[in-house]
């Protein structure tokens, strides 16, 4: 068990973070808004944690206090939330593909900024981010409670007035307005909640990866999380959680397959480096054959229906 955890600890924690980032993309999608901004807020949260821990708090000896990590996560969440509102209000005037493009632009702007600012360490980034734990697997102490909290929150959200307002806007924004629901308010709220979650995960991730630079949270990452949500499922939070885990692990699985002896060189190469091509294909096939993703609310309902009918 100890051997397994030390080998796969990094991957397991990454998978949980993948699930969280899937959820951060799922939140705006609850109101029908396809936003790819999550990686931008993720990168922002990471830089906040990296800068605070290496330049402000500067704990020199021993393990970095977990309390400070939690403080950084809170600060990253608040800053992401504020930026989420500021970006969300103008961006959410756009619809569909135009919103997606605007949010990609937002991610790119943040990336170019982080490449060129001194405080973010330019192209080199920030390294030597202090560790609160001795082994990667121990990061589960932070990310598992975070995932459970987010899942409980979304489970509740899908069953209350607020979640119903989100759903109404997703189903028919115009009719939702005629029912007294303010579409702008709820769209910005959903977008901001997603931004906060992405920022908080970024803050943990900076410690976890030990280094943070402009390669974190790029357009590539947007595609990965988009795949997890679209294939996982867009109608219940369980979809993005499972999708985020599976699609974070998938490149590692592909790499393992590529290492099998006797495989033609080109195929092995493709399995190692063709990750985005494979994800792109999955998005196309998934949206054609499973427009609501693989995990749908009907999967859970069917059992209930049977019970009520018998």
């Amino acid at each position: 068990m100890a051997g397994f955890l030390s080998t796969y600890g990094f991957l397991i924690v990454s998978m949980v973070m993948g699930a969280l980032l899937g959820l951060s993309l799922y939140l705006p999608l609850m109101t029908g808004q396809l936003s790819l901004a999550s990686p931008g807020f993720y990168a922002l949260g990471g830089y906040i944690a990296a800068i605070l821990s290496t330049q402000v708090f500067k704990v020199s000896d021993g393990l970095y206090p977990i309390g400070l990590v939690l403080l950084e996560m809170s600060i990253a969440g608040v800053v992401s939330g504020v930026l989420g509102v500021l970006v969300g209000i103008p961006a959410l005037r756009l619809r569909g593909i135009y919103l997606a493009i605007a949010t990609i632009a937002f991610v790119e702007v943040l990336r170019v900024l982080s490449l060129n600012l001194d405080i973010t360490g330019g192209a080199v980034g920030i390294f030597g981010i202090p560790q609160p734990f001795l082994t990667p697997i121990e990061y589960l102490w932070i990310v598992i409670p975070l995932l459970l909290m987010s899942m409980v929150l979304l489970y509740r959200l899908e069953r209350i007035r607020l979640g119903r307002a989100f759903t109404a806007i997703r189903e028919d924004e115009l009719a939702a307005g005629a029912m007294g629901i303010d579409p702008t308010y709820y769209k910005v709220l959903a977008f901001t909640l997603g931004a906060i979650l992405a920022g908080v995960v970024g803050a943990v991730s900076a410690h976890f990866l030990n280094t943070w630079n402009a390669r974190q949270g790029t357009f590539d990452a947007s595609i990965v999380y988009l795949t997890s949500v679209l294939i996982g499922g867009t109608r219940t939070f369980v979809g993005p959680v499972l999708g985020g885990m599976v699609f974070t692990a998938l490149p590692e699985v592909l790499r393992a397959i590529a290492d099998t002896a006797g495989l033609p060189l080109w195929l092995a190469q493709f399995l190692r480096d063709g990750r985005l091509i494979i994800f792109g294909l999955l998005i196309v096939l998934g949206t054609i054959f499973f427009p609501q993703g693989l995990v749908t609310p009907d999967l859970f309902k069917r059992r209930k229906d049977r019970k009520s009918q018998s």
């Binding site: 209350i160 028919d172 009719a175 005629a178 029912m179 303010d182 229906d305």
Partner: protein, 262 residues
Amino acid sequence: MIDENLTTSNPILEAKSLNRTFGGLVAVNNVSFTVNKNEIFGLIGPNGAGKTTLFNMITGLIEPSSGQMFYQGEEISFLRPHLIAKAGIARTFQNIRLFGDLSALENVTIARHIHTKSGFIRGILGLPPAPSEEIRNKQKALELLDLVGLSDRAFEKARNFPYGDQRRLEIARALALEPQVLLLDEPAAGMNPSEKNQLSEFIRELRSQFNLTVILIEHHVPLVMGLCDRIAVLNFGKLIALGDPAQVRTNPAVIEAYLGSD
């Protein structure tokens, strides 16, 4: 009772020289009228006369190019749709706009939005008044489904309902807002004659039960003549007649523009 309403003349909704143009097309041209409280007010006219455009202006989906709209003495010309709904004006849509993927019950529960207060924190944590609000909402929604005769299918998806039932579900959803004014856009479209007769009865019942003012767009002339207290006739965006059914029926402009074409 109808005469009493007319003589006391208690305006709830007032349109003053409303205009709306789409590019070069004048969809609504200088239309003024007053709807009295508790009245069933019909809006008729040939296709493209501007009836739905007028509805959309009343409910804030489109803004008037000029002119004003008053509701209970307050101007609502440029209010956004959700604020007009909140003020007490609910509607149904000509081309049914239910939340198709959701159950009938969910459709009606969503429309209880403005009558509940619990926001993010209290909703998530289930703190008072959120839980009791949720229960009350569900009861209220079930009552309304019962009223329109759909309570036994509360958990079916709205898109699987037959056409007439979808129209009734839309009415239940609009009633969930507890409106003062109910706007029905072609409620009888696609219904058979016996359903149409029931509909007249049903709309009258709604008015007395909920103390409603009803404004309806309808193509089926006998239904409008039999049901409405007063009727406004639009043609090419202009108001060509306004009065009780007998007056409208005999109005030469109406006969030429609309009834004569029958």
